[in-house]
Every structure is written in structure tokens, then in C-alpha cells.
């Protein structure tokens, strides 16, 4: 501290130099006190060690199906030449573990453009062309040129492992030839919403 200090002017009734001395003592006390004051704390919250938990694996169900025959993915019906109407039979099974809806297109190759297709579903195997139980028409004389789409569940789902039987009829005003194919299917799962806590 280098500032010059001049004797203070004495106020009436005070002792010479007494006020200045007290002020200086106060300054000294302040200078002494400053270094003794605690430094401001910069505390931070304490962090607890993390707990990390991994769930098990969750898997979404999937759909699968199989056509009866050599190719489980599709079904083909060859059309012999020189016929105006041809009928074939197929079966479709839901091979998935859950119910599902299936749909797929009908493709025609080498078939007259005016040819039409009818697809009938039956709950049991056809016998002599007749369905004894659970018959439903899935496609009713649709133009093959439009590649009609078949909803095999006919508006409902096929239960797991359920098999349906199909009768395909192709007709034309002209002589038939070529091949009609039930294309690979799209499977759609139903909405669940079940509590699966127990598995």
C-alpha cells in the first residue's frame, strides 16, 4: 500500500490523531480478514454409478404359407390347347405360428386376352368338383388380363396351420393355351394388443 496518508483534520471534541488511527486499524483488520475468508465453493452433485439393464430379444411374428404341390411358393395351372374351359385344384396352408391373412395375384401367360378366372375356396377337399363344406367364392369370373388379386381368407384370417382348398376355373370364348399361376402371397398379421408378459 503506497498511498500517502496525511493527518486527518481534527474534529472538535476529538483527540488528535485518534480517528485516523481507528480507521487505519479498521483497514488493517479488513486486510487481515480478506485472506482468511473461505474460498467460494464450486460443489457439484455426486453421481451414482449407472445401472444398465438389457432386455431379452423381442421378435415380431412372421407369416408363412405353402401351396400343396411341388412349389410351395406358388401354384401353376397349365392350360391345354383346344379347350374352352379348364379346372385345377390346389391347397393353401398357413404354415406360420399365428393367424394371418393372405393375398396374391393371379398371373396368366400365353392366355387369350378374353380369358376369365374363377377361384372357389372350400374348407375341405373338393370331391368330384363339389365342396361339401365351407365354400366361398374368392374370385368370380374376373378378367385374367387384369391380374386379379385373390384374398384367400375371404375377409378373415387363416388360423395357424389351417389349410384351405382351392378350385381354379379358367374359361375363354377362344381356345385356351398357356399357364395360369397363383403368385407368391403377401401375408398380413392381425392386430394383437395382447399382454404378453408371461410369454
Amino acid at each position: 500500500m503506497t498511498a500517502a496518508i496525511t493527518p486527518p483534520r481534527r474534529r472538535p471534541g476529538t483527540r488528535p490523531g485518534g480517528g485516523a488511527g481507528r480507521r487505519l486499524a479498521a483497514v488493517a483488520a479488513t486486510l487481515l480478514a480478506v485472506p482468511l475468508a473461505p474460498a467460494p465453493a464450486h460443489a457439484a452433485p455426486w453421481v451414482v454409478p449407472k445401472a444398465s439393464r438389457d432386455s431379452g430379444t423381442f421378435t415380431m411374428a412372421s407369416t408363412s404359407y405353402a401351396f400343396g404341390g411341388s412349389d410351395p411358393a406358388s401354384f401353376s395351372l397349365p392350360l391345354p390347347v383346344a379347350l374352352l374351359s379348364t379346372t385345377g385344384y390346389a391347397s393353401l396352408r398357413n404354415t406360420g405360428s399365428t393367424a394371418a391373412r393372405f393375398s396374391g395375384g393371379v398371373d396368366a401367360t400365353g392366355v387369350p386376352s378374353a380369358a376369365r378366372v374363377t377361384l372357389v375356396r372350400c374348407a375341405v377337399a373338393f370331391s368330384g368338383g363339389a365342396c361339401a363344406s365351407g365354400q366361398a367364392t374368392l374370385v368370380n369370373s374376373a378378367a385374367l388380363s387384369g391380374d386379379p388379386v385373390v384374398a384367400y381368407g375371404n375377409g378373415s384370417t387363416l388360423a395357424a396351420n389351417q389349410t384351405i382348398h382351392l378350385k381354379i376355373t379358367v374359361t375363354a370364348l377362344a381356345v385356351l393355351s398357356g399357364t395360369v399361376t397363383l403368385l407368391p402371397l403377401t401375408g398380413t398379421l392381425p392386430t394383437g394388443g395382447a399382454n404378453r408378459t408371461a410369454g
Partner: protein
């Protein structure tokens, strides 16, 4: 400090004032420098009580017959599972806990697995019911992009009764997710509720 500085003859003078300045400054310098304030030798020795720093900790334990690490197969859209856990503050101070969910696998992508957290003021019953009012801590949201969820403040030795819900989105895109797998990781973090700097004179 009870001592009083009095100038010779009982009078304050400029000289005695400067003397006081010099004395106190010198003493302060000694003290600041780590020396001994030898002029003040009178001491009163009072033994303080034991001061103990707080400790922090947590326990996150499966309960109610469920195991967090158990998965489920063949989920349909909208299907869900509950996993129960007790989060215990094992520390000696209140702690604020946060849960962060993250997913792995295709099924944990956007529009797939979802995540929610509820709490019950008492332990969840074995059938999953709550004897009190269920509080929604985090509403159902996609695991993908989920933000941290505050589990609130838990007092020392307090327990938060948690119920995790993992759900497959009811509108999950089937062409994307059929047959796919995913998992959820939950990380709990905790910090002391107070930063300290409190007046603990009263305890």
C-alpha cells in the same frame, strides 16, 4: 478475537494507528503464508462431532415374477410385455434418477418397439395391479429416439416401484418388421438431489 489494541497512555495517535496497521498486516501475512500466528497463543480446544460425507448408490432389482432380460417371440402389432423392477436409493442422501432407453436390432427402429414407464406408490401386486394410483412417468413412445425420462427424487432408502412396458407398435409396418428382432437397454443414472453448500448446523 477478544483482544483490543490500545495505544500507549490510553490515547490513539497516528503513530499508534500505523503501528497497529503494521502489526496486523505482518500477522496477516504470516497467517496467509501458512505461518503461525504466534501472537495469539490463547486457544480453546473443542472437539467436534464426527462429520461424515454422504454416500450414494442404487439397486435396480427385478420383481413381481418378471425378469427384465426375458424376451418374447411372435409379437403381433400392439402386443406388449410388462417388466417390474424396484429402484432403491441405497445412499444416505436423496437422489434424482433418470432412465434412458435405447434399442438395438431392426425391430427397435422407428415404428417398431415402444417403451413406457409407470410407477406405483406401493409394491405392484403379483397380478400386476397397483393398490394406489398409477403414475405415468413416461408415456408410450418409440424406443428409437427416446429422450431420457426423469424417475423423480427418491429419498435415502426409498424405493421407486417401476413398471416398464415394452410394446410393438400397433401400426408396425409389416413389410419392415415381420420376423425381425430387437431389444431395449435401460440405463438408470442418479445424482444427489442437493449440490451441498447447505447450512447443516442443526444437523
Amino acid at each position: 478475537m477478544a483482544e483490543k489494541i490500545v495505544a500507549a497512555g490510553g490515547r490513539w495517535s497516528l503513530v499508534t494507528g500505523w503501528t497497529a496497521v503494521a502489526t496486523l498486516a505482518a500477522g496477516g501475512a504470516l497467517l496467509a503464508g501458512g505461518g503461525v500466528f504466534a501472537a495469539w497463543t490463547s486457544t480453546a480446544n473443542a472437539a467436534g462431532g464426527t462429520n461424515e460425507a454422504t454416500n450414494v448408490g442404487m439397486a435396480h432389482v427385478d420383481t413381481n415374477g418378471t425378469t427384465f432380460s426375458t424376451g418374447v417371440a411372435n409379437l403381433l402389432p400392439g402386443d406388449y410385455v410388462y417388466r417390474y423392477a424396484n429402484l432403491t436409493n441405497t445412499g444416505s442422501a436423496s437422489e434424482v434418477f433418470t432412465a434412458t432407453a435405447a434399442g438395438t436390432g431392426v425391430l427397435a427402429g422407428a415404428g417398431g418397439l415402444q417403451f413406457a414407464v409407470d410407477t406405483c406408490p406401493a409394491a405392484w401386486a403379483s397380478d400386476g395391479t397397483c393398490s394406489g394410483t398409477v403414475a405415468v412417468v413416461a408415456a408410450t413412445t418409440d424406443v428409437a429416439g427416446a429422450t431420457p425420462v426423469s424417475l423423480g427424487t427418491v429419498a435415502a432408502n426409498g424405493v421407486r416401484y417401476l413398471r416398464y412396458k415394452v410394446q410393438l407398435n400397433g401400426t408396425a409396418d409389416q413389410s419392415t418388421f415381420q420376423g425381425k428382432q430387437g431389444a431395449v437397454n435401460v440405463t438408470i443414472t442418479g445424482t444427489t438431489a442437493s449440490n451441498g453448500n447447505r447450512n447443516r448446523t442443526a444437523g
